[in-house]
Structure formats: C-alpha cells, structure tokens
C-alpha cells in the first residue's frame, strides 16, 4: 500500500478527515486476523450454546448485534475508528465475506452428518462440523463477521465530511446496507414465518411454525382463512418425441421432433420413421353388419340405447351368453329361439346360486365350497364362508351376522393361483370396488349377491323372432314383441332396441378423440424394422445407447397454481374470494400469505407460506438508499465536473 499512500491521503482529505498521528495497527493482515478472530469467537460461542436443532435466530441476530456494538465501542477511540472505517479494513472484510459465501456454495449445506462424512471423509467433515460450515449462513461466526462489517459501515456513515454528490452517495450506499441488515435482523427476531395447509372448504385461524427441535408451534393469525377452491392451470400440452443418447451417466438430447409439424426427414436422419400419431389416443370396438359369412354359427349383436348411452349385447358362437345388468336386472341376447328354449331348460335343471364372482368383467356363478376355474388359466377360486349381513364382532374379533336380513353380503374366498400359491380375501357385494387385494396382486375380483339366483337372467332378447322373454326365478313368465327402433322396459328403465345385427363383426379402431394432446401416442418404426408405441412417461430404449421419450416439448406443464381464499373476522367474511397465486400474495392483518405448495395426488390441497415481517419497509428503504447511493457515488463526481465545466464556460 505504501506506494499509493499519496493518493489515499488525497481521498481521505476529500472525506473530511485530516491525516494525523495514527497509532492504530493499519494493515490488511491485522484486519484479516481481526475478522478471523471474530469468526472463531462466534464458533466458540455457538459450540457452547448449540442444542440439537442448532442455535436460535435470536442468538444469530444477537451475535451480529454484538459484532456491531463492539465496533461502535472500538470506534470511540480515534485510531480504531480510523482503522475500522479505512480501506485497510474494508477490502479484507469484503474478501472475507466473499470467501464465506463461496464456501457456502462449495460445502453441502444443512445435510446430515452421514452425508458430510461420505462427501468429505472423517477429518474434513469434523472440521466442517466444528466450524459450523455446514450451515454457514446461519452460524454465529458468520453473523458476528456481518455485524463487524455493519459496525464498520456505521463508522463510515458517521464520519465527518464535506458533503458533495460523491460523499452523499457514499453515506446513502453504506447507510442503506446497515438498514438492510438491521431490517433483516428485526425480521428474524420479531417476524414470523410458518405455513398453513388447507383442503378446499377448510378454514383455520392459526399458522404452524416449525420449532428448532422438530416441535411444532401454532400461532394465532388474528383472523380466519378459508380455502374456497384450489386449481392448477396447465399449459396446452405440446408433446414432442425426444431422442436421447446415453453417454455414461449422462444423457444427451439429440433431437426433438414435433409430430404433425416437423418434417419426417428430421427423424429419418436417426433411422426412425413415424407410422402413426394420435393426440388423444383411444381404441374403440365398433360393431358393424358383416357381409354374408356363410352357414354355421355367426356372431349376433344387439344395440340397446339407455338415455343416450349405448350398450352392446352379443351372442357369440361357442360361448355362454354374457348378461348386461340394467337397474339391477339382467338381460341376455340369444339369437335362435330354439337355443333360448334349451337355455331355459338348463336353468330349470341347474340349482340357483345366489353368489356370482366377477373376474375382469367375466361372471362366474359359484357355490360355497365349490372350486371354480378362473378365466385365462389363472388358477381356481373357492367361496369359503358367506355372511348375509357381515359384521366384525368386537368381542370375539371374528366375522358374524348382524341381522337376519341380507344387508351386507360378504364372502371369504380362497384363490389358488396357477403357480400354486394360496391366498384368501374378503369380498363385499355392496363394495364392488374393494377387491381385497394385497400389494402386487393383480387379480381383480368382485362379488354379487342375489337371493333369487345371481347368475339367472331376468329377460332374454330373442333376436330371431324379435321377442323379449321376461323370466321369473328362471322360468318364462311373459313374451312381448319388440321392433328395431322400438322401446321396452326392464325393471324401471325404458330401453330402446337400436339395432339387431346378424351376422355382425367386431372391429377395433384406433383413433384420436380430439386434436388436444390429452392421451398422446406416437407409433415409431425403429432402425431394426420393429414398430413401437411411445407414450408419455414410458421411455423406449431401442439400442444400447439410444432411447425415445414422448415428453412435453415446452418443458413446463403448469401455468399457475391458484387458490381462492376468503378472510373472515369474527365469523363474517371481510375479504371474499381473493386470489392467491405464485408472485401474488395476499396481505391481511400484518401477514403475507404466499402460494407455496400443492400435492399432485391430493387435488383439493393447497399449501401457503405465511410471513409477518416487521422489518420489511426498513429493508426496502435500505435497498432504495443503497441503489441511489451507489449511483451518486459512482457518477456524481462526473456530473459535478461536467456542471462546473459548463458554468466555467458560461462565465
């Protein structure tokens, strides 16, 4: 520094402090030692105070305040005042702060001891722990250094000086930083930061503040917040096919191809070709009249319309007719009258069982104790026990009947899988969606119960003679003629016979339900000649180091998270249906409420961050002062020179 002392002397004179006998240790080395010492003092203090959850925010602010006041006290002595407000102190302090900041990005912050140990080994991780460098920005040492810096800023501001644009700027810039730190400290001590979790329709009058030791405190809001509704706005989906190359652990995107828009040659360069693109893919079975398919048994079909919904009935050669249930009544299609008669005869001979097991839409009549083969060779199922009004007896902890009425029919079944494993489960007629499955168990079983015979139809549509046969307990009770296009009743429902087809043909059609990309599917021919279907979330690896992904081309899919809330005071709404979204918090009663969280699996949930920050305006004032000060200090002298030159010119 010695070579520059002349220049420095000039600057000091400009600041209004005259040079003089200086006995303060004015070296940068001393400044570094001082800063290091203060940091270590903070470390020692923290290791004495530190509990399981670290130190409190209050202790952090107090450490900063101690640093600040220490400097202020030292500033009573003139040599110290001059040293601490000098460049010899300022430059090392700036570099030390920068150094700590860099450390805070190089060392993993707020991770467990185990992770530190893995990352840095035993020696280094002990050092990091010991100096509290694993949460550096909240450590007492860092706070004390910041306080020291703030104190030095205070001494700079308090310095006597001749005022001009530059010195005014200097006061504002340095003073602004003190305000920012002071405001942040006020916020840390007297502010509140917590969260509110609500489901639609729920309300709360308190916020949850996590404590340091994992305890949770509830603090009153002073008003009631109700979540009226929560929604997620999405961008119009826009899927592209991405071709990725694997290189070690990393993936490199080679190509992004927008189906329907990009030219096919883009893909051809990678040996790929699109053979089909459906923005909203669905497979649909269409039933249509087939041409003459010759003699023998053929497929017959009837279309029934029920209030705008269409249902198909089939009579398939070689298969038992499957009933369709309408309003609790079962309807069958049998094409030939003679076959319908034989069917009725067989019903009369077969004892009726009230139990019906349903596997993947296929109905299996079953009697307790009798093994029934599962379709698809997946093993066998057997009803072990039956309860017509199932209840768990609280005393015996055994299943029992609650009453004599069939109010809650249930069966316990045993399943012998094809592989030989046995499993048991309970099925309930009133809860068909409860399949009693264990994890990884794919078999979907449900249970139906009808005292009169669960598998017996209530009506047969006889295609050949255009008749509807009504049955009662398996016996023919009435016949009525039906016309194609005409109506008939089953139970309490009016149905329309929309079509009768024989021979009929079933055909699977692949189509797009619309042009919006709701359920996109892209069919791609690979270099090997094989064709694959690519869907979102299902990457296709087609060679050792290449894979395809169908992903939203524009990355982000969520446009906004929007909560509509109402603020109530004393039970009365004072602010109704206010929108809270990201970047647009709601302020009420001293709190700011921020949209902060959502759960994809819980669509009515919304999470809020709630903040009360009494230091807010002090910080903002500090920001404004600092910015204005920096501008004045940097460009002020230039403006002043220019003005002087102009005035001189005019004179």
């Amino acid at each position: 520094m010695t070579g520059d002392s002349n220049k420095e002397g000039n600057t000091r004179a400009g600041e209004g402090e005259s040079g003089g006998a200086a006995s303060a240790p004015r070296t940068m080395k001393f400044a570094l030692a001082l800063l290091g010492g203060v940091f270590l003092a903070g470390v020692v203090l923290q290791s004495m105070l530190s509990g399981p959850g670290g130190v409190s925010r209050r202790a952090t602010v107090l450490a900063g305040l101690a640093g600040f006041l220490g400097v202020m006290l030292a500033g009573l002595s003139k040599p110290w005042r001059r040293f601490l407000s000098s460049i010899q102190f300022a430059a090392p302090a700036l570099f030390v702060l920068a150094g700590f900041s860099v450390l805070g990005t190089l060392i993993l912050q707020n991770v467990g001891g185990q992770q530190l140990l893995q990352g840095y080994g035993p020696g280094l991780s002990r050092l990091i722990k010991g100096l509290f460098l694993d949460d550096i920005f909240h450590s007492l040492g860092f706070a004390a250094v910041l306080g020291l810096g703030a104190g030095a800023l205070g001494l700079v501001v308090a310095r006597r000086r001749r005022y001009n644009l530059r010195t005014t700027g200097s006061v504002l810039a340095h003073g602004g930083l003190i305000l920012v730190l002071a405001g942040a400290g006020v916020g840390m001590v007297w502010g509140v930061k917590g969260r509110i979790d609500l489901h639609e329709g729920q309300e709360t009058d308190s916020l949850v503040v996590p404590g340091r030791d994992g305890l949770i405190n509830r603090l009153p809001l002073g008003f009631t917040l109700r979540l009226d509704d929560f929604r997620i706005e999405k961008y119009e989906p826009d899927y592209s096919l991405m071709v990725y190359a694997l290189a070690g652990e990393k993936q490199k995107r080679l190509l992004s191809f927008k189906p329907g828009r990009d030219p096919d040659r883009k893909l051809a360069a990678h040996g790929l070709a699109v053979t089909g693109w459906w923005p909203d893919y669905r497979r649909r079975t269409v039933v249509e009249a087939a041409g003459d398919v010759g003699g023998g048994d053929v497929l017959a079909a009837a279309r029934i319309d029920r209030g705008g919904k269409e249902t198909w009935l089939f009579d398939e050669p070689g298969r038992e007719a499957q009933a369709v249930e309408v309003d609790g009544k079962r309807l069958l299609l049998v094409w030939r009258e003679e076959r319908a008669r034989r069917y009725l005869d067989s019903l009369a001979k077969m004892p009726a069982s009230p139990h019906l097991l349903v596997v993947d839409g296929r109905e299996l009549p079953a009697r307790p104790g009798e093994e029934v083969p599962l379709p698809g060779g997946r093993g066998r199922v057997k009803i072990l026990r039956f309860f017509h009004d199932f209840v768990m007896d609280p005393q015996t902890r055994q299943p029992a009947n609650r009453s004599a009425e069939p109010r809650n029919p249930a069966v316990e079944v045993s399943i012998s899988a094809a592989g030989g494993q046995e499993s048991r489960r309970w099925l309930f007629a009133r809860y068909p969606d409860f399949h009693g499955r264990g994890a990884g168990d794919e078999l979907k079983l449900s249970y139906r119960y009808r005292p009169g015979g669960a598998s017996r139809p209530d009506a047969i549509l006889v295609g050949e003679s255009r008749q509807l046969w009504s049955l009662d307990a398996g016996k023919l009770s009435a016949r009525a003629a039906v016309k194609v296009g005409g109506e008939f009743t089953l139970g309490r429902e009016r149905l329309r016979l929309a079509a009768l087809l024989r021979p009929a043909r079933r055909r699977t059609v692949e189509e797009s339900a619309g042009s919006r990309e709701v359920n996109p599917l892209l069919r791609v021919r690979l270099p090997s000649g094989r064709t694959v279907d690519v869907r979102p979330g299902k990457p296709v690896r087609y060679s050792r180091d290449r894979f395809l992904v169908l992903a939203p081309g524009k990355g982000e899919t969520v446009r906004d998270y929007l909560s509509t809330v109402t603020v109530l005071e004393e039970g009365r709404p004072v602010r109704e249906r206010q929108l809270v979204e990201v970047n647009s918090p709601l302020s009420h009663g001293g709190f700011s409420i921020y949209q902060a969280d959502y759960r994809p699996e819980d669509p009515t949930y919304s999470g809020f961050q709630v903040v009360r920050d009494p230091g807010l305006y002090v910080v903002y004032l500090g920001f404004a002062a600092n910015l204005l000060g920096v501008v004045l200090a940097i460009w002020g002298p230039r403006w002043q020179r220019r003005r002087r030159r102009r005035e001189g010119g005019e004179a």
Partner: protein, 275 residues
C-alpha cells in the same frame, strides 16, 4: 425452432465476425473506410440479433430469457449495445475486436445449443420483475465483459508502454484504464440494481428476500469483488496491473455465476440453474 431463427443466428454471427475483422484491421492501419465499416457491420449484426430476440418474444408470447440459448442471444445483443455506447462515449475502438469476438462467440455457442425450443415459463417466472431482473443483469454482464477485455488487453499489451494514452490503434489516443474503470462502474451499478430487483422479486414470490440459493450467493460474491475493486481503486489508490487482475478475477466470478452453477454440489435446489 424455425429455420428463420437459425438463419438469423448465423447472419448475426457473420456480421459480428465481419465487425471483428474490420476492428482487427484497424490495429494494422487506421483508415476512414474501416472506421465507418466496422460500426456498420456491428450495427447490422445487432439489428439481426435484436430481430431474432423480438421475433422469438412474439412467437412465444413471453419474454425469451428462460433457457441458456435465449440468454446467450440476449447477452450477444447486450455486448453489442454496451460496446457501441462505449465506442461513442470514449471515442475508442480498441475494444472493438474482443467485444465483437465475444458477441459472435455468444451467438455461436447459442447456435450449438440443444435447448433452442421455446419452453413454457414456470409460475415463479411469470412476474413483472422477470424482464428488468434479467435484462439489467445481462447489460451488467456485458459491461463487465468489456471491462474484462480492457483488463486482458492491459495485462498482455505487447510492449512496455505507458499506462495512459495507449495507441494500439494508430492515431487513437485512449486511456485503457479509464475505459476499464468506466465499464466496471457501469457494470457495478447494474449488478446492484439487478441484485436488489431480484431480492424484491423473491420477497413478492416466496416471502424471502434471500435464501442463499447458490446463484444468489455467487451474484453476491461478484458484487463483493467489484465493490472491493471500487474501494481499492478510489480509496486504496490501486492502479495498473493489480487492478486489472482484480477485474479478471471479478469477471471470472461473473462467468462462473452465469455458467458454472451446474458444477456446484449445492446447485440441486437452485431456481437459477440452466439445464
């Protein structure tokens, strides 16, 4: 990304490159056609660059500052504008060559990027603060890049010449140190503004001014380094080589803040990292 945008990128690379060539020729012999031609080529490149930025803004219907590709296009335009202003204010063309190489380099890097598609803005970036925060920062980065060029030129100057009144371009008397200092001061004001705008925005979006996100922390580091520069220069009387070294260090910190965040172990949770 349309073919038009790709073509625009290459045209601006070519024009910036041409400008760099003309500025380089000035080092050999200063002539009137060169003095006219170089800024013209620069201006042409800048116009094409800005047209690309604007067309993307219109096409995407959102500010095009989300991906690294988009930020590089913005950076190239900022370098072009800042350099042009400096040439006009200081009447110096000495930094024309490195500045134009920087702008062309940024555009070439952009051209090589794989993230050229328009991506949707996440909710946090849909804010009135987004544009001022990014644009101010990139003008600041551009100014500091120009300062860095001056510092490097200062450090590697071919012969021991006086600090003041360089005449690397024949007939052009300029003060390299004054140029360097002017650029740093301009850059520092913008860094301060960008930092404060970012803090105000974070407060409005999340309720915290500052969360020690790695990029936040590194932007503080760059600010502290350049604050140290200002103190050492004006109060400490630092001049010459060590000041130039400090600017090189500061600009390295800027570049690390801009491009190096992926390298940090703490970057996983950052809101700022380019993919």
């Amino acid at each position: 990304m349309s073919h038009l945008a790709e073509a625009l990128t290459l045209v601006s690379v070519a024009l910036y490159g041409l400008a760099a060539l003309l500025y380089a020729l000035m080092w050999l012999g200063n002539s009137r056609p060169l003095r006219l031609g170089a800024p013209l080529a620069l201006g042409g490149g800048l116009l094409v660059n800005l047209a690309q930025l604007l067309s993307r803004w219109l096409e995407a219907d959102q500010p095009p500052f989300k991906t690294l590709y988009e930020s590089l296009v913005l950076l190239a335009a900022c370098i072009g504008i800042v350099y042009l202003v400096i040439e006009l204010v200081y009447r110096a063309r000495i930094l024309g060559l490195p500045a134009m190489l920087g702008a062309a380099g940024a555009m070439l890097y952009a051209f090589s990027r794989h993230d050229k598609e328009i991506v949707n803005l996440p909710p946090a970036l849909q804010s009135g603060w987004f544009v001022p925060h990014v644009v101010v920062y990139f003008f600041g980065y551009a100014a500091l890049f120009v300062a860095f060029c001056a510092a490097v030129l200062y450090l590697i100057r071919p012969r021991p010449i006086r600090i003041r009144r360089e005449d690397l371009i024949p007939g052009e008397k300029i003060d390299l140190e004054k140029l360097l200092d002017g650029s740093v001061r301009f850059g520092f004001v913008l860094l301060t503004f960008g930092l404060l705008v970012g803090a105000v925005w974070a407060k409005a979006a999340w309720g915290d001014y500052w969360v020690w996100d790695p990029k936040e922390t590194w932007s503080l580091v760059t600010w502290l380094v350049f604050a140290a520069y200002l103190h050492l220069h004006y109060l400490g009387g630092w001049r010459g080589q060590r000041l130039a070294v400090l600017v090189v260090v500061g600009f390295a910190a800027v570049m690390f803040t801009y491009l190096g965040m992926n390298l940090l172990p703490t970057a996983e949770q950052s809101a700022h990292v380019y993919q």
